[in-house]
Symmetry: C2
Subunit: 277 residues, 2 copies
């Protein structure tokens, strides 16, 4: 019983293909301000979207093995592509709670939708996996789901121009195939997309609820930590940010997105591989 | 491993002081349409709001003991007053997940609020317990909470005139003491209040997010069932409704609120007491 208080102060591990998962990290900081985050972004091998399942699965295992060196109390897979490929495996493999970004978004959409007609946008990989559709229909078999891959949105965010003058046009063109009049809820099925919430909301109109998986995943983490008596009791957070890419680049983007100064640590791929059992 | 598939089809127990918790039951039916509900309302001894803690605690234990005769996979305490008094005890005592209505509402409010200033309305008992304030501040110690007891709202709902012409005036008068300009989120801290969402939203204005604990509790139940591999796999639901009061009255109100024909079973207090260990 003496381990319990210590364990509450363990960090929450967050992995992502790069910087996109910072939208989830930011929401965790906002909704759970006492918690400590260890974030690991695989910027060197980003994006995961167009890669094979085998490759994404292998990369994800490497990220997890590295973070699991530290005492963690929960793990968030803050990348839709990695969630689709590895969530079931990691939930079985690890003894701590593991959360992906797909199910929280699906559950929130079910809560929001009155007419049971939901749209999902994501990367080619996520949409092809059908993961959102499966998650939605497992709970509500009669749900009507309109899925759309939007390959131009991640590059728009990564370019740093997500609030530029062109972003509305790119978003409008990407979302054009969605049957807006038939659905009342849209899931942002990619952790990059919350940065485009404004143009997306503008394009979709005010009658369509826009669900950010970042916000919902943080909320679900809060629920899980509470029910497992794992909420941090005191503010001892000392977040750490690791990247396989340039630590300077990562720190610059993270500081910008999180609105506070971030120091990032560079991790080499060989170090990561050494961590694998 | 053969018990698992059976357990997924067990019912979800819901207890309440009377009919108020039907707002939670309705949300569970909407968000988790495959699940079976066993609902028990203590209409004979309703309301719980003005009763002593000891009495509410005793009554709640009796309701739980009766429902636990059936194979349940989770228990919802769909009454704020009962949650404030018995959640900690029941979580320790029972081996199934136990959810109250206070923490889900608090977590949803934390997610919704941008300025960290939140209002809470509830019965005298709930507000006096300070349960929402504790729940909010455990996660966000800097949260500013404005609590207000609204003793006139439950009678308004129970009278059946919740969508009558006078309801706006009663709501406006009840909410008048809230500093609306200083908060961006309002928690409906009583399971009766979702029936007054329309006049409450009208009075509060469109800039204040109104959080229904009914909706959030159902969503949290969905999360917990998923993470414990307890989601129902097939539609075998055969809901049952028990009441300590008149089964005809209960059935009439429940049919009206749930929008479908409901058959209610009457339970005598002596039967309940026999169930206590």
């Amino acid at each position: 019983m003496q381990i319990q208080p210590q364990k509450n102060e363990y960090a929450i591990g967050i992995i992502d293909s790069g910087v996109g998962g910072l939208t989830v990290a930011k929401e965790v900081m906002r909704q759970l301000p006492l918690e400590t985050i260890y974030y690991f972004g695989d910027s060197l091998r980003c994006p995961y979207g167009p890669r094979s399942e085998t490759e994404v699965f292998q990369f994800t295992k490497e990220l997890v093995a590295f973070l699991m060196q530290f005492p963690l109390k929960a793990l968030l897979i803050a990348c839709n592509t990695a969630t689709a490929v590895s969530l079931v495996y990691l939930k079985k493999k690890l003894s701590i709670p593991v959360l992906g970004v797909i199910d929280p978004g699906a559950r929130a959409a079910i809560k929001a939708s009155k007419n049971k007609k939901i749209g999902v946008i994501g990367t080619v990989g996520t949409i092809k996996s059908g993961a959102y559709e499966k998650s939605l229909k497992r709970i509500q078999p009669t749900m009507e789901v309109h899925s759309l891959a939007c390959p131009n949105l991640v590059p728009l965010v990564e370019s740093g121009n997500w609030n530029g003058v062109d972003s509305y046009d790119v978003v409008a063109e990407s979302l054009a195939p969605l049957p807006k009049e038939e659905m009342d809820t849209l899931i942002l099925g990619c952790t990059h997309y919350p940065l485009l919430t404004q143009p997306i909301t503008q394009v979709m109109g005010e009658n369509i609820a826009v669900i950010s998986s970042a916000e919902e995943t943080a909320s679900e983490l809060s629920t899980i930590l509470y029910h497992q008596n794992l909420l941090a009791q005191k503010q001892t957070n000392q977040h750490r940010f690791f990247t396989t890419g340039s630590s300077d680049n990562f720190a610059r983007i993270a500081s910008d997105w999180l609105g506070k100064s971030v120091y990032a640590e560079s991790v080499s791929l060989s170090t990561m591989k050494d961590c694998l059992a």
